[in-house]
Symmetry: C2
């Protein structure tokens, strides 16, 4: 790729972004789009909707007020809006901005000139615009040149800076986590643990076994427990009843016209005329009777798992951290998630079963990540024109047109790839759910790691090594060759990844801001049902999809920092845009569904360390290829030091992300003693972890929707 082509691409994409931003700034001011662009705010203050319904000219003028709002958002506001997870999310951007500002200064002012004035590639096309992008990369530096020592020093300095920033950030995050804990109100999950693999004892049911075990061994702290039941069948019935109830609600709110009557015979055309309203209400009543019957029947069908609540946080921690039963595969304890975060659907019980599921899922994820290349390769083979003509002879005429053939060979593979990629996050989510996690937050965190590996493997390594899957796997079976192979392949892909940042990165961000799909859906609904926002739900930010993408751009920046520093300005633009856009989205669009109190941070840390090590491995190979073996050997301590730094961080900070220390727990427990509402809280705690499917249902003959217990089943 030559420089002018890159600049054209940058120009086009920049223009597109500007267009999207302008459109956004206009569309967001239309009251009809409130449900698309500010669902969180709408949910918060329902009254606002009426105010802004008047038309005024400003609504049609683009403005940058939203940028200012997003910019002015303070950390405390983010904390109150999106919790600690939201804060972690925005800190990824500030961290990346710090890292790549340093990298950019070093890269553009020192490394880029050195690369440019090398002669290795000697593509003297004369003018700057015609220069290949490769002449800005390390490949252009002469072999064995002493200038490479500048790159060597840059690698050391940059690693030092990144590690220092990582340390500060980790320290800051763990301090925030503790502060968050201190400032939190008593919450059910702080007092509760999940106990699985409860052994069955003869003559007693599981609930009695739990009761007797904990009153025996934790007499002073045990409060109550709620057993987990197998409720998927009831849940289905309840969902049916729910749907029917909503339908009824709709019908009631419309006027009682003819359309509510229908004949009860074949296809509603013959037979007795019946009042549809009565008909549905009767059906709903039947359904609810069914649910109640099932609830009574299933109450006996207990799963050997229970949520056990304690009178103090420390009591819960004691039961959590110390092995309970003599057999370590029984009475397995686990931190309880927040009640609304529990994933009730999959409560596989026995220790072995869960263990096997976990193993199977790990293998399946690994297979999906590694073998995803195969369909890609096949698709690329299909897009081969000769092949296509042979298989579908009737296409010959069309394919001979240059435009068509270009579109097919150029866009079809990447289109199909994008289509495939679209399905990967849900698959990963399903995998993580099967793995046996009991809360949505854990599932999303696990899916986040899986997605990260998927993207790194299938976008970075697949493009860099650009061979068949088998070749890729082969490389990693001969670890000795990895540096050489990577050093040969990675610099060559610099221009691809620069344009990847500009096209895919920037576009992703503007589409995040523009929310095309929700916009179209909302538009559709308004046209066809005349209403919007009726069954509206505030979306939650899909961390499992967004964090890996952002981290991948960080990986690109770190690995290409000294290979091809030209990528850095574009990355800086990406992170600046992302910083503003995601703050805006957190403010207006997303509301958190759960609070992990910053548990996503270790993923960010690990990914950054991995990126650094990858950079070092490539550096070892590059200096070897560039005939500077001394530099190649002298760089070896760098990954070792980085790994030691990582191990230190794991020791110093990770325990705080796993559990709260005695000091905090006891302090909070002491505070509670002076709190007035604790008895009330304990009363609520007893029923907090009841399966929503087992709560009493009563829709029929009650039109008071807001007090229906069913729809508030996830609240505590």
């Amino acid at each position: 790729m030559i420089l002018s082509a890159l600049l054209t691409s940058v120009g086009i994409n920049f223009g597109l972004c500007l267009l999207f931003f302008t459109l956004y700034s206009i569309l967001r001011k239309q009251p009809g789009n409130l449900y698309v662009y500010a669902p969180r705010l709408v949910d918060k203050e329902k009254s606002q909707q009426q105010e802004s319904d008047d038309f005024y000219l400003e609504r049609l003028l683009p403005s940058a007020g939203w940028v200012r709002n997003a910019w002015q958002l303070s950390e405390d506001e983010i904390l109150s809006i999106s919790g600690l997870d939201g804060l972690v999310f925005t800190r990824i951007f500030t961290f990346s901005l710090k890292v790549f500002t340093v990298a950019g200064v070093i890269g553009i002012s020192i490394l880029l000139p050195i690369n440019y004035f090398g002669n290795q590639l000697s593509d003297d096309f004369g003018h700057l615009p015609n220069k290949s992008l490769d002449s800005f990369s390390i490949s252009n530096v002469n072999d064995g040149s002493n200038r490479l020592w500048v790159h060597f020093s840059a690698a050391y300095i940059f690693t030092g800076v990144v590690c220092y920033l990582l340390y500060c950030e980790h320290k800051y995050m763990s301090a925030k986590r503790i502060a968050y804990f201190y400032s939190s109100k008593p919450q059910p999950h702080q007092f509760t643990i999940l106990v699985r693999s409860i052994p069955s004892s003869s003559g007693r049911n599981l609930s009695e076994t739990v009761e007797s075990f904990f009153t025996e061994y934790h007499p002073s702290t045990y409060l109550s427990h709620s057993m987990v039941h197998r409720t998927s069948k009831i849940q289905d019935l309840i969902n049916d009843a729910d749907k029917l109830y909503r339908k009824l609600g709709c019908m009631k709110s419309n006027n009682h016209s003819q359309q509510n009557f229908r004949r009860d015979g074949f296809l509603g055309l013959i037979g007795r005329k019946v009042n549809l309203l009565d008909h549905y209400e009767k059906k709903l009543e039947d359904l609810e009777d069914n649910v109640r019957m099932e609830q009574n029947l299933l109450a006996a069908e207990e799963v050997p798992a229970a949520f056990v609540s304690f009178k103090s946080r420390f009591g819960a921690a004691v039961a959590l951290h110390i092995q309970q039963g003599v057999n370590p595969t029984e009475w397995v304890t686990e931190r309880a998630p927040e009640p609304q975060d529990v994933h009730w659907a999959f409560f596989s019980a026995s220790f072995i079963k869960r263990w096997i599921f976990k193993l199977v899922v790990l293998v399946a994820s690994f297979a999906l990540i590694v073998l995803f290349l195969i369909p890609v390769v096949i698709v690329q083979g299909l897009a081969n024109l000769d092949q296509l003509e042979k298989w579908f002879p009737f296409l010959k005429g069309i394919l001979s047109l240059t435009v068509v053939s270009q579109v097919i060979t150029g866009y079809l593979p990447s289109l199909i790839l994008q289509l495939f990629l679209f399905f990967v996050p849900p698959i990963m989510l399903t995998f993580s759910a099967i793995q046996g996690y009991i809360s949505r937050s854990q599932i999303e965190r696990s899916a986040c790691s899986k997605m990260l590996w998927f993207i790194i493997w299938n976008i970075f390594f697949a493009n860099v090594l650009s061979g068949s899957a088998f070749y890729l796997v082969n490389v990693f079976l001969e670890p000795k060759n990895i540096p050489r192979v990577l050093a040969e392949a990675v610099p060559g892909q610099a221009s691809f990844f620069i344009s990847y940042v500009v096209t895919s990165g920037w576009t992703n961000l503007s589409s995040e801001l523009f929310r095309l799909i929700p916009l179209v859906c909302s538009f559709w609904k308004r046209i066809f049902s005349g209403k919007d926002g009726d069954e509206f739900e505030v979306p939650s930010i899909p961390y499992y999809n967004d964090i890996p993408t952002i981290l991948f751009f960080g990986l690109l920046g770190i690995t290409y920092f000294f290979l091809s520093p030209l990528i850095l300005p574009f990355l800086l633009v990406y992170f600046c845009l992302g910083y503003i856009i995601f703050r805006n989205q957190l403010l207006n669009v997303y509301a958190p569904k759960y609070e992990t109190a910053g548990m996503f941070w270790p993923i960010v840390h690990n990914s950054t360390i991995f990126s650094l090590i990858l950079m070092h491995i490539i550096a070892i190979g590059i200096f070897g290829l560039k005939k500077l073996p001394l530099a190649s050997s002298l760089i070896i301590p760098l990954p070792v030091l980085t790994l030691i730094f990582n191990a230190y961080c794991q020791n110093r900070f990770l325990p705080l992300f796993k559990a709260y220390p005695t000091e905090c727990l006891i302090k909070k427990d002491r505070e509670d003693l002076n709190e007035a509402g604790m008895t009330e809280f304990y009363d609520k705690l007893v029923t907090a972890y009841q399966d929503p499917a087992l709560r009493p249902v009563q829709h029929a003959r009650s039109s008071d929707r807001d007090t229906s217990p069913l729809l508030h089943s996830t609240e505590v």
Copy 2:
């Protein structure tokens, strides 16, 4: 090696063993050797010594009574004599006997005939005695022969049997561990934890900080604490005083003759005549004054570490398992060892320091293990005759004698190697001590693992691959080639390892029984000082040296089981002899210095799993070489299944080896409530973890040796 040569070697070694056994059975009956062959018994009942001083003829006749005694020893007796560690040690033999009986039956009755009737090697020397040992190995089976499927099935069946036995044994050991805990009396280490990295707070000394922290956060369970002090200087002084005191004791017990007087001038030849006794007593008094002064001075020099005792076992467990301070690198808790097991010498304090030491030691151990080959190679180069003649020309005459040259080339390298090997266990022990372990038992356990790796690498891999160190390292950098390389090399070394079992293995055992070095020492002492057993100490069994050796023979048996089953009968003999001899030694010789309650078992488990995986890797290579690629692929699930089995065992049993569960702790604590002596125990607990160097000293003017607190400093 041909069969007759092997048989000769077996005959010679068997004869040697018999000779040793006969000598042992005579020597052990001589009353003078009681301190060598039955120190544990002597220590137990001092009176026995007088009884057997009469001479009777039977004392000169060899007898096998000791074998019967060792055989009849029941597990409960071993438990009471040597604790659970001794039981684990003997269970290694019973486990190995079970494994190799199965292996022997399969190997000798099925695999050996198949190997023997193959034609691949076709060395038709006619008679059986001239057959090469290789014709009994898998190398002799024809390439691509379907008979190899028998070997294939044998690998699967054998792995299954070993895993089943491992499972049973692990289950048995963990049950024993729990039973041992239930039956134990209240012991200080059950109620105590070690806290390190105590943060210093201004205005308070460390002891006050500890006091206030634990009364604040563990008010109901905290009992007391004792700080750790830096005492190496005092310990040196005390050792000096101790020596002087013993010398005085000796002098007093001799008659007050002229020799107790000496002139106080130059070399004792001129000057005033002084009473040596008075002189030494004065010196001792001075020393002890010095010690007391240092003790007072150093009392302030606290190390930020303390032993914190609790009122209940559960209280100690709670403080142990839950992170205490907000900063995870402060208030680091650790299980306290038994008071007599504390390794006071090395109490490096800060978190970072210990962490760096650990890292350095790991690197050093790794380097020692891997690079130990280099001196060996150099030594072998030195033993090369031409080289030697070139360097030391004056040796030419002697070296031309065949006998001398044979001795030098044949024995010198292995002699030097043995000399090197002699130093390795102490070095490993020192390494483990530096690593920051705080008890002798932990140090020995860590040294045990290090020795195991050392032996496996330097005896198994060095002999199998028999190349230079660099070649060895190279192989492991290309993991894809490992099975092929091993499969080519391992079967060829079968005859070497068979003779290794016969020579090194059997000899080791008889020298263990015969205790040559203590015998010579004791003999020496009796001749020159006329006394023995004066400062006599019951030895403890060096698990860190013995367990790796035994496990290594297990590894040989498992890897060679299907390659060359001829090794199995000799191994069975080894384990039978070991079973008897070590039981005898446990009964008569060794007394345990500490009790880890079976913590050595996981090392045995891991080593067995490693041996199995190694066997599978070799099998993959062998079937590939033997042109049976299907079998080679079908064996791949075997290591995977073995690893899954191992992971299951880790989940199922390992937690029990790390900590006792709530159930046990609470039950034992409840038992204590009914016990009478608990207040007394608590009183003792307060001072149990005082550094012996800080206890009051008083030797001077007190000839009552048995009540001297100094010599009983390690008792509680």
